[in-house]
Symmetry: C2
Subunit: 190 residues, 2 copies
Amino acid sequence: MAQQSVSSDILMESLFEVFRCHGYEGTTLSQLSEVTGLQKSSLYHHFPEGKIDIVKAVLTYFSAQLHQHVIEPLLDSQKPPEKRFSNMLVTIKAFYSNGKKNCLLNALSLGEAKDEIKVLVSNDYNAWLDALNKLGKEVGMTRRDAEVWSERFLIVVEGTLVVQRLTSNTQTFENSMDYEKKQFLKLCGG
Amino acid sequence: MAQQSVSSDILMESLFEVFRCHGYEGTTLSQLSEVTGLQKSSLYHHFPEGKIDIVKAVLTYFSAQLHQHVIEPLLDSQKPPEKRFSNMLVTIKAFYSNGKKNCLLNALSLGEAKDEIKVLVSNDYNAWLDALNKLGKEVGMTRRDAEVWSERFLIVVEGTLVVQRLTSNTQTFENSMDYEKKQFLKLCGG
DNA sequence: GTCTATATAATGATAGAC
DNA sequence: GTCTATCATTATATAGAC
């Protein structure tokens, strides 16, 4: 086979998709080799400790994407809060491919997840939760209401992704996010 | 080592716990051998086709438990609907060990799940959804409201289990189920 | 029905050429 | 930085004794 070479972003995207689908234990180096077009030994060149190094790099990549495309726009005070929330819904609909794709955090928290992974997963969740929390307070929710609403929103995101996989109903995620939008606008008014 | 022998129920419970924690791809015969105390060749005696046979048996066992302890009590017209719902919450709090344990259906829908597994997983979800749907209509919800409420309840159950794993906050699941109880009682009244 | 022993395949990991 | 080749380990699966 001809020698392969891949840009860092395309490489990370490919690796990301495998872990999001199979979780840590379910992912094999053969799969990672296949999706990247790199031989296993080439993967070891980039990631000396193998699978654990790769998943850490994937989580770092994911974290950067989350901050850039979700968290920063949520906190951008130049746009009205309602617009920022509905923009986020558009972003995550695309990110989860309308519910057809898993959440990486759910996939990686399965099994006997290593502590290194747990910390990174937990940090990402908390960063997202904090941004939503601030948004809630910004639109006039009490401290307590913002806490309840932000946690509940992420529960619904994660839960809907699971339920859509259980049913193969391709509309579940979109419907659920549209419902969340309505609820948020109500809470803004009230 | 002394020869092992196990009753069918204890055997199924042990096998169940492994798949619920690791998913299908993440579970190995060595783990199943260890938790059951049976050698791998003994497992093949019970389940000739290996892992796929074991997971199908686990799903059949789970399905029976779900019908016996969750679905049938939900439809038992001898008790008031509110009581049946709160009894179910007690049952599933115990079943998920207050959110410390995964949902088998979530775990088994990860990865390239085989069609045989998908069908069984989907049937269990739908059976539970249908029972909740009937309960909703029984307490006076419209057809549409009952559909929305029952799906949303299962979304919250699955999502809360994911979020609790992401945060290691041991109260998340209990809080979330208590919230669902309040919401249900409100919907009964309204 | 369980065991020990073994076969076969896949996975994780390394050495060294280009 | 990628490859081929190889190795050690683990995973799946089978044979046959008790």
